[in-house]
Symmetry: C2
Subunit: 116 residues, 2 copies
């Protein structure tokens, strides 16, 4: 069993295993984005965005380019988007069945008190 390769792949998927990082990738779909733009889109503070970008950078999923004082990020391989598309299809198909989804949604309806 090619273990190192599987470890490597696992690392890759782990990099996708965070909501913020998924949103970042979605934001990069149309093209480059500066850290600032991402920061606004994600409504997160600068350092958090930077940290998540670092994770993606270390796994070679994104590349950065510095222009003056601002840094632009882009996805290295557009096939990443294809991957996300397949993932989305899987969800739309049936992975989100009632149980799991309700369980997840249940959690957060606890926090904002009651919705009215």
């Amino acid at each position: 069993m090619n273990q190192p390769l599987h470890r490597f792949k696992a690392e890759f998927f782990k990099a996708l295993g965070h909501p913020a990082r998924l949103v970042i990738l979605e934001q990069l779909r149309p093209g480059e984005r500066s850290v600032q733009e991402l920061q606004i889109a994600l409504d997160m503070d600068q350092s958090s965005v930077s940290q998540q970008l670092a994770v993606l950078r270390h796994k070679n999923i994104v590349d950065s380019r510095k222009e003056g004082t601002t840094v632009y990020y882009r996805v290295r391989d557009p096939m990443i988007f294809q991957l996300l598309d397949v993932a989305r299809e899987i969800f739309n198909n049936h992975l989100i069945d009632t149980q799991a989804m309700l369980a997840l949604l249940g959690e957060e309806s606890l926090e904002p008190a009651n919705r009215k």
Copy 2:
């Protein structure tokens, strides 16, 4: 930003973020496998395999079927394999560039002493 959905997706990717679980999925490519068969293929003890299967089960990635005393697992949505294929392509393309790969391989050459 549809946050719950992104969380959900992140959970999904996290489930794929473990070497053993990736190997399990590869094993399930041709079809059903019993826990025992997986246990042998992965060379892991029973409870570890069962634990990893539990993760995949909870994320609705695999289904199980009990026949007598043995349990057979299968992947719920074949599109999962398509996802793995796209991931493989991404690797073959260029995600595994020298740096990252060497870094990873470097780690493990430390453990088995020296390779001779």
